[in-house]
């Protein structure tokens, strides 16, 4: 892999982590000493994606703003990697008028039509709309593709299987991505899933299935390259599962008492691992690491400042925009 690509992947991962750390800080800042999920500048559930950066960075490196992404209840990493407007996304998370949804959506419901990005808080239900986006691309003769993202728990939902069949049947330009972070909230995949690799399920639909086992961004990048190319060429969908890592809780405030793997988690963090690899191979030095971190921090803090400056919506406006 060429150096420029590796640096891009690294930068994207750092940007995502920096963002999630900043949201974590802002989210908890005014929920002390007693945690109240509905309180503070960022109220509500908050699902952060730390540890899953390699999936978004590796996949979205192959996309342009003409391609679609449907993400999940844990959407920030894909939103950032796909180029969603960070200012307006952050304003939405803060529930402000300049947010992508003018404060009506929240962090699980981010829509940026400029880059064909959406997400849904309902497990597996982001897959079907991606089929339709792919249909539109196909019918209009473009080579755009739709990337549909879920977690491993979604692979046991009906919509998942209906979608794979339909996409395969109609050779739709879709890349189905499963982020296997091993946990469906508190239920480990061993207690939810009858196969060791969801990529095996692709065979049931006659499409290629690949599993990236090591949560490496370069591994994801390679696998996604094939899947995206296949979709662009009109050869139909693929399924890509990545064995990734939920570094933090299902949502903020999750005590994770059920989680027996926490001791080993820090050592599996993909970001320092990748950074070390790049350092060892002479791609990164201390100055470059600092520069990437500073750039990311500046962008993220700028977005947070933008969000905080944006006014809160007028409660009277809650009744508007139900219909076009």
């Amino acid at each position: 892999m060429d150096t420029a690509t590796r640096l891009d992947l690294y930068r994207t991962m750092v940007l995502i982590r920096t963002y999630e750390e900043a949201i974590l800080r802002e989210y908890h800042a005014d929920k002390k000493p007693v945690f109240d999920i509905g309180a503070g500048a960022i109220p509500g559930e908050m699902h952060l994606s730390a540890g899953q950066e390699p999936v978004a960075a590796g996949v979205c490196a192959h996309l342009t703003s003409s391609d679609a992404v449907t993400a999940t209840h844990r959407p920030h990493h894909f939103a950032i990697a796909h180029g969603v407007d960070m200012h307006r996304m952050t304003a939405e998370i803060f529930g402000r008028v300049d947010g992508l949804g003018k404060g009506r959506g929240g962090h699980m419901h981010l829509f940026d039509p400029d880059v064909h990005f959406s997400c849904s808080g309902i497990i597996a239900e982001g897959y079907p709309p991606a089929l339709g986006q792919a249909m539109a691309f196909q019918r209009r003769g473009t080579d755009a593709v739709a990337v549909a993202v879920t977690g491993e728990g979604a692979a046991n939902q009906g919509a998942f299987h209906e979608s794979l069949n339909l996409a395969a049947l109609w050779k739709l330009p879709v890349v189905f991505v499963i982020e296997d972070n091993e946990w469906g909230i508190s239920v480990p995949r061993s207690a939810s899933t009858c196969v060791t690799s969801n990529a095996d399920r692709a065979a049931g639909y006659g499409i290629p299935g690949t599993r990236v086992e090591d949560n490496s961004v370069e591994g994801v990048h390679r696998a996604a390259s094939e899947a995206v190319a296949r979709a662009r060429a009109g050869d139909g969908p693929s399924l890509l599962e990545v064995h990734t890592l939920r570094l933090w809780g299902h949502f903020e405030g999750d005590p994770q008492a059920y989680r027996h793997d926490l001791d080993g988690v820090p050592g599996r963090d993909p970001l320092p691992t990748y950074e070390q690899t790049l350092r060892d191979e002479g791609v990164l030095d201390e100055a470059a690491v600092k520069s990437v971190a500073a750039d990311a921090s500046e962008r993220v803090e700028d977005a947070i400042a933008f969000a905080r400056r944006s006014p809160l919506p007028d409660p009277k406006e809650a009744l508007g925009l139900v219909f076009a």
């Binding site: 849904s120 897959y127 079907p128 709309p129 089929l131 986006q133 019918r139 979608s163």
Partner: protein, 351 residues
């Protein structure tokens, strides 16, 4: 033809045509005209192609437009209704057919959590211009899972318009409006008004339909029959039963006004209030379940405005809160039949 003329023509004056079509043919005519006009319009659903829709909602379309634009789908309602949503988000104008509304249980997440909410959640930045067509209603012994109306369920959930035509002219005009609307529209057609040769039908399921392009505005009720003594607010097939009863009772010196709601979302509250204001009596006839539904909603809207306009307590004829039974006699006992409507009119008139 102006919008209002088209809407009124089918109810208050002779339509400017003598050409008669069944409701199903009128629906198909609207779909075909819009497909001709706009390449982004396409149809998908189960058996919409060669079969032409189990209830003739797409007859002949595949021959005219081909399988790329009239697409038979697998029995995967979540997948293909969701696909319609995604295509609509990208600016296409899909018409997706849920064969029986009773099947909504397997795909409601796409409908109410996605189709209906995306515009709002996106702060108005993403539109979902699609039509979800679906067959409703009973009266032919199809049992509890194939006979429901359920429009109250859809109308209850914000973000989707809901229409239910009662006659061919409205079926065409409402379909045209639904396809052109920038919002998701649930278009609920009663099997009993389609004019199907294999099902008993009211004579009004074949009626005059203007050949030209016209819209029936969504959110506008029609006075199907003007009257002075009692307002019968209803929709879809029950409009016909109400009109039959109104004709009969004219001989008993009771002058019924029949309001065909046509749309549930938006609901034309003004027309209902104006009618009740004149008659002072209200009967709501609804083929959906009685509790927590359309009949209660309409009565509430009148009561909220001015309960004093009612000279007698309002009455409703709806499906009592039981699943729709199979045996003919049992089913007729729960449907809003002419007999039940007639008795209710006598009741609200104090006779």
């Amino acid at each position: 033809m102006s919008l209002t003329d088209a809407a009124d023509a089918s109810h208050t004056s002779a339509p400017a045509t003598t050409r008669k079509l069944s409701t199903s043919k009128a629906m198909v005519e609207a779909v075909a005209a819009e497909m001709d006009r706009d390449q982004d319009v396409f149809v998908m659903g189960e058996d919409v192609g060669a079969y032409g829709g189990i209830f003739s909602s797409t007859t002949g379309l595949v021959d005219r437009f081909g399988p790329q634009r009239v697409v038979d789908t697998p029995i995967s309602e979540s997948a293909f209704i969701g696909a319609a949503i995604g295509a609509a988000v990208e600016g296409m104008r899909p018409i997706a057919e849920l064969m029986f509304v009773d099947f909504f249980g397997v795909c409601m997440d796409q409908i109410y959590n996605h189709m209906a909410k995306i515009h709002y959640e996106s702060g108005g930045n993403v539109r979902v211009p699609m039509v979800l067509t679906t067959a409703v209603g009973g009266g032919y012994s199809d049992g509890a899972q194939h006979s429901q109306c359920l429009w109250g369920t859809f109308a209850h959930l914000p973000g989707m318009k809901v229409v239910a035509p009662s006659n061919p002219a409205d079926a065409k005009g409402l379909m045209t409006s639904a396809i052109r609307d920038d919002n998701p529209v649930v278009y609920m057609f009663h099997k009993g008004i389609m004019g199907l040769p294999w099902m008993a039908k009211n004579p009004r399921s074949v009626g005059p339909v203007p050949e030209e392009d016209y819209e029936v505005p969504i959110g506008k009720a029609a006075i199907a029959r003007p009257g002075t003594d009692v307002t019968i607010a209803t929709l879809s097939l029950s409009v016909h039963h109400a009109l039959d009863v109104a004709d009969e009772l004219a001989g008993d010196d009771i002058d019924c006004e029949v309001v065909d709601l046509r749309s549930l979302v938006p609901l034309d509250t003004d027309t209902i209030l104006e009618s009740v204001g004149r008659t002072g009596r209200l009967l709501v006839v609804d083929e959906d379940y009685r509790s927590f539904g359309v009949s209660g909603e309409i009565i509430a809207r009148v009561a909220e405005r001015d309960p004093g306009m009612l000279a007698a307590p309002p009455v409703r004829v709806a499906v009592p809160d039981v699943p729709i039974p199979y045996a003919r006699g049992l089913e007729d006992a729960v449907l809003p039949t002419s007999e039940r409507i007639r008795n209710a009119v006598f009741g609200v008139m104090g006779r």
